[in-house]
């Protein structure tokens, strides 16, 4: 589904450069909920942002369903991005659009006709359990509700993959659990492959079937969550 081959990312800085990813490879299969865990500054966000090329790796290749996106032109890249939903720690909703119009936004970009878009947005709102908030504006929602809207928006174009960068880090434990359950549902019912960036062990244990541990720009361990539990316990201490 997603194949990352030997990518490195060097950020340009005033003092020269900073290597945020050092020859990283990762293979995510269809249906996975793949966790990427590590300490702050390890390079997690950089890695996930290299998957939809919000950040371009300085070296290496990224494949989505066998297509090398690192070799695509602008136009094809925009198209493929529509099949890669993404959610963020601070939600990034459009503040001047109401909930329904936020969900419709990616459909507008994909030039979906108005009627279909309306219907789709309403269905998604139901999926994330926020029907009654359809006319509210983001400023009127709680963090958990905002993230639900963001998830609905990310799902609008039926993506094959959902990228989550610290999607629950701004939320309390109860809300976190409800969002994680929603993600699990989405994975099971809609068959969406999910990549979850987090610094919380709990998140990985709760929903990830696979996990990669990233430490100062490198993946130091990866595999099935259940096989790596021991390693985590060391990290935890």
């Amino acid at each position: 589904m997603i194949r990352i081959e030997n990518i490195s990312k060097m950020y340009k800085t005033k003092t020269g450069g900073f290597l945020a990813l050092d020859n990283v490879s990762l293979n995510v299969e269809k249906g996975d909920i793949y966790g990427v865990i590590g300490l702050s500054g390890a390079g997690k966000s950089t890695l996930v942002r290299c998957i939809n090329l919000l950040e371009r790796p300085t070296e290496g290749k990224v494949f989505i369903e066998g297509q090398e996106i690192t070799a695509m032109d602008e136009k094809d890249l925009r198209k493929i991005r529509q099949s890669l939903g993404m959610i963020f720690q601070d939600f990034n909703l459009l503040m001047q659009r109401n909930v329904l119009d936020n969900i419709k936004f990616p459909l507008e970009i994909a030039k979906t006709d108005k009627k279909t878009a309306e219907k789709r947005a309403e269905d998604l709102l139901k999926l994330v359990g926020l029907e009654e908030k359809s006319n509210s504006y983001p400023a009127q929602l709680s963090g958990g509700q905002k993230q639900r809207v963001a998830i609905a928006r990310a799902l609008a174009n039926n993506p094959k993959v959902l990228l989550c960068d610290e999607a629950t880090s701004a939320l309390d434990p109860v809300t976190t659990l409800s969002i994680l359950n929603l993600l699990k549902d989405i994975n099971e019912k809609l068959g969406v492959t999910i990549i979850i960036i987090t610094h919380e062990m709990k998140v990985v244990e709760t929903i990830c079937n696979k996990v990669a541990v990233i430490e100062s720009a490198r993946i130091v361990k990866d595999g099935l969550t259940k096989d790596l539990i021991n390693h985590f316990e060391e990290v935890n201490q």
Binding site: R81, L94, M95, N98, F105, R153
Partner: protein, 220 residues
Amino acid sequence: MSLLTEFSDILIKGTLDSLYMIFASTFFSYLFGLPLGIALVVTGDNHIMPAKHVNRVLETVVNIVRSVPFIILIIAVMPFTRMVAGTSIGPKAAIVALVIGATPFVARLVESSLKEVDKGIIEAATSMGCSKFEIIYKVMVPESMPSLIMGASITTITLVGYSAMAGVLGGGGLGDIAIRYGYYRYEGELMVVTIILLVAIVQGIQVIGNKWSKKINHLN
């Protein structure tokens, strides 16, 4: 108030000329200033169309025009004004100078409004497959609309002052009346009346701007 009846025709024409200058120049300043302001933002470092050299040229042009005092600018651009408006006196001519003076001002206001749009929102839009133009007109502009409207009312009010100055230099309107009758002919009361009219225009614009901006803002 015999004065008012005596000069009512002049005052009405002056007010209409002033309003015409103010709103026409606001319109054209935005026609040029809005794209310029957008260009200033998007060509900046780390924005959606980084272009160092273009950005530097735009910055320089804006700064140069902005640093020329308006009263001097009016005179300096007179040959150009004559070329565009066919004359260097009257409201039409004044508009040319007003637009040249206000465009860089508008560009700066637009720039600061657009810079308030959270980087994360632009990033989210990129991740959804938005093109750069879609990011500009579907994200940056609508998201900063309340602030853009406040900017437009600041611009219009600034142009009230500028248009009075242009009036003094032959542009017509209330500024012209104030100087011609109030100053040269010692009709102090008439000067007071023009000032009251200018204050009323400014107040009106400010109130409308504030209300409108507030009405469409969903940020809180």
